[in-house]
Symmetry: C2
Amino acid sequence: MREAAIAGIGMTDFGELWDASLRQMFTEAAVAAIEDAGVDHIDSMYVGSMTPGLFVHQEHIGALLADYLGMAGIPAGRVESACASGGLALRMAVLEVLSGASEVVLAGGVEKMTDGVDATDALATAADQEYEAFEGITFPGLYALMARAHMEKYGTTREQMADVAVKNHTNGMLNPRAHFRRPIERADVLTSNLVAEPLRLLDCSPITDGAAAAIVTTTERARELGVPVIRVRASAMATASLALHDRQDLTTIPSVGRAAGRAFEEADMGPDDLDVLEVHDCFTIAELVVMEEIGLVEPGKSGEAVSSGLTALDGKLPVNTSGGLKSKGHPVGASGIAQIFEIVEQLRGDAGDRQVEGARIGMAQNMGGSGASCVAHILEAIS
Amino acid sequence: MREAAIAGIGMTDFGELWDASLRQMFTEAAVAAIEDAGVDHIDSMYVGSMTPGLFVHQEHIGALLADYLGMAGIPAGRVESACASGGLALRMAVLEVLSGASEVVLAGGVEKMTDGVDATDALATAADQEYEAFEGITFPGLYALMARAHMEKYGTTREQMADVAVKNHTNGMLNPRAHFRRPIERADVLTSNLVAEPLRLLDCSPITDGAAAAIVTTTERARELGVPVIRVRASAMATASLALHDRQDLTTIPSVGRAAGRAFEEADMGPDDLDVLEVHDCFTIAELVVMEEIGLVEPGKSGEAVSSGLTALDGKLPVNTSGGLKSKGHPVGASGIAQIFEIVEQLRGDAGDRQVEGARIGMAQNMGGSGASCVAHILEAIS
């Protein structure tokens, strides 16, 4: 039975990269991952990207980016599951390695969001076009509905949501690749511009350019390469209804519970085994609901857990040590791989000022749209 | 070692389906494939679609379509490699089955092209946006360059290209699902409107709506299901430079030769072993170049081979018995799976008036854009 491992990682700085095109960003991240792994070729490649067609009017980027990487010839395809495209790319690379078809596969993610189009309109294509986007609701609006439901059902407060943003900015301050490296306070969040009641500007992740890449191979090959062996203990995906109106309860995101549950089953472990997590905090309320779906806390208890410091860098279970999507930035197709970058750095002990002492097992949870899709990976440092 | 097989197939009629949305078409094809295989569930799903974001302003269709299929919960992602998206979806399903992660995986393809947007502009995103599309060249223009080069280098004639279209319409007449079921003659092609010199309207595949689906499982499971076992002998992909200006010779499409070569190597066979082929005839010149790349004929000999009847339904090696993209229609993301539908019908002996007697081994060759990506599958009927 083959086992998959991550042998190399690379990423660009995240931010408004006016001087970098999609192909330049991807190539920079991919070359960094290849050099980090110390491989001299890749057998195959997957690129996660949500909508380069709408953002930069370019599809067919699997072939394009293989060409720019100097690898024209290899199999190279793009995968998409809205903001979970990066996680899906990693899953494809893992499955390809496990199938025996390839030994060394690159999984990348990229999005160029700041170059002209209406990003809110492009992102709305991740929601149900016929029943949601067409009616005028945008992503802040969809997550605002979830936030309001969570507040009503559990008494979750605006202050608790704000504390998610404060924590993630605190972590992002320590991440040289983060989009927003500045501290914010609870009052800043609570007085920032209202976007979609009850969500305010500082509850929302930003529009960001960036790319990230990882090299997936077998644990055996990773050992031969002499790199720290980060084994992929689980690669799981799940879906749920796309339209919010088809969900039983707006305080849940069922795809997350399903994907995390499958991942824990595959890895034969549970939430208590995790040392560090990267979760999909596209909005502050998302991080709270995701914590409950993964089983880090009971339903309704996520707000107080964050405010109590449970998930802070020095807490019992650090979440989003990278700064998360909120502070690190959210180039949608790249975010899932950037989470892997952070978890691998943590498990290698290379996270510098953000290092979680003794981190050995980590989870990356990446979701699409308002949570119709979710990809969860569990990684473990093995010697 | 697991072996993959195709246990079920389904597809919509192809055409201008004004009454059917993307989600309706996909669901119709997927349900047909599921019923054909006789399975009561699927473990996972891949959807090939080139640009639903541009065509119908809807991304995230993996999750959306799993939901519409009544399967919300399962892993479901979209894959894209321009017009090779369908072939890529099948490859993903095959790799997932071979990896052991799943037993029954649906591979679908869908495109809704006729509902409002400028299809030529949307399709141009499969070419290099910065160096080709931005300069104003469209796909007929790109293939016209290849046609002119082939005529110059090998003396290929307009009449030979026209004969590709005539043959494919002759076959499409016999296909109840084809978009254009009418006979055409060489003179019709040669006098049809000029699109991009030397290509004329009847050299071009049409803008079509449609969907197709296939159920991939293990050969063992297919036997248990009691369906004809169509083994996947090879699943190969390759790429080449996206921009034509980076190719050594415009009379070749290197990705096709690479993908076909890998497929033959994987299946341990050669062109002579094939009984029937579906190839990517987005333009008549494409079918000619592809025949040479696959090795059915020597470079430069494809035109006379077609005119001599080699690839006719009653010829030695029938190509595009379905009518091909030219007559059956070309809903870009669906075409790769529709090719599989035809090959499976042929290998089952279910192709009716189009049946190739004794067909046992077939190839489907699906390519993206001007050939920067190509996916090739070899299927074999086993008892």
